[in-house]
Assembly symmetry: C2
């Protein structure tokens, strides 16, 4: 897995929070794996540059591939779609969120546990703002990318629903609460990201970690109700 946020680093999977390390610094990877990693970053680098410059629709996969020095066919061996080259890293965020929720103590109130789960990817964004902010803006203002982003959010909601239901011993097919609570958490995430990436005075000014705290302060009375219907 390559990391879109840190210039040219690779993520070590299976640990949370994930380690970010330079590809050239990884003697534990085989040569083949490092070559593969190199092609992937080359491809995303080329894509981000071209897309930010010319807009999503004006750039073809062929252009991205040849800019990175490979063929179009190879591009699709690395990424499932043209959108994925920008959005792929969101899949890891979902796994991080779920893991973050699972790691919280069982007696913690739902609002606290969900806040910490959702904060994990937001803090990563905040810590790499110079690189993350333009990418987020590109995603949110490009319809095709936004659509894929929404698909990822929906998948996150699904995962949080399962994790939350298991945590509370509820059946997500019967009770409304788990999916509703997960939906509220994702709505908070989305609102914060939208606000953070806004142009103008409010944009980028406030830290996403602080924003998500304010959002959850609003949601808490609904998330922590005793009477779970």
């Amino acid at each position: 897995m390559s990391c879109l946020l840190c210039h040219e680093c690779a993520l070590v999977p299976g640990k949370a929070p994930r380690y970010h390390r330079l590809v050239s610094n990884r003697p534990d990877l085989s040569l083949a794996q490092r070559k593969r990693q190199l092609v992937a970053t080359e491809l995303t680098e080329a894509a981000l540059q071209l897309l930010a410059l010319n807009g999503f629709d004006a750039v073809t996969v062929d252009e991205i591939a040849t800019t990175a020095g490979v063929s179009k066919r190879t591009f699709f061996r690395y990424f499932a779609s043209k959108e994925d080259v920008v959005v792929q890293f969101l899949a890891d965020m979902g796994a991080d969120m779920r893991a973050g929720l699972a790691a919280r103590p069982a007696e913690e109130r739902p609002s606290e546990a969900l806040l910490h789960a959702v904060s994990v990817p937001l803090t990563v964004c905040g810590d790499h703002a110079e690189r993350a902010l333009p990418v987020v803006r590109l995603i949110l203002r490009t319809p095709a990318l936004l659509a894929r982003f929404l698909e990822h959010e929906a998948r996150w909601r699904e995962e949080l629903t399962e994790e939350l239901a298991e945590r509370l011993g509820l059946d997500p097919a019967v009770e409304l609460y788990p999916r509703l609570a997960a939906g509220m958490a994702i709505a908070a995430f989305d609102t914060v990201l939208h606000r953070w990436s806004a142009e103008g005075d409010a944009g980028g000014a406030e830290d996403p970690t602080a924003l998500i705290g304010r959002a959850f302060a609003l949601l808490a009375p609904a998330l922590d109700r005793e009477a779970v219907s």
Copy 2:
């Protein structure tokens, strides 16, 4: 605008709740308009039948068009994409929701106003369950259609955000509350639709109008807080 839910009727735009009338019963429409209406319903009929039978990916636009007796080019003069032929009616739902919110008295609590707004399209679904349920299930279980559905939901959230901000005199670019509240309402809508369209015991059993009421009972303490941050 054709109405996907009622077998072969046309919606009269600009009124809420919309009138549903048979195409053949519309002397106020010109011959050309009725012909256009006829082709549109023929297309959606053919599409729904083929897609439900063979799955979304296994059916080409050419098949749908020739089944309906027109050319592929003509299909795209009626619908912007292959998904649109199934999902297009959702655009009206968004307008209905916004209009429903705007129509509520200004002094009403946000939870009440939003509940009524979101209930409008859900009640329509519940009233035409025999026809609406299979369509909703087709959408939610087909990735490509689900993606378009999520895009529509996002648009609805945007509209509710604007309407709510105006209603409360808040700046949606600064305050988190409007977008967050709209997101909660959409999350409730989504949860209800998901639960309603579920297979098995819970599926279709409870009325969507009743379900949305229960969902909003959970959300109300967060939606109606005095201290709007």
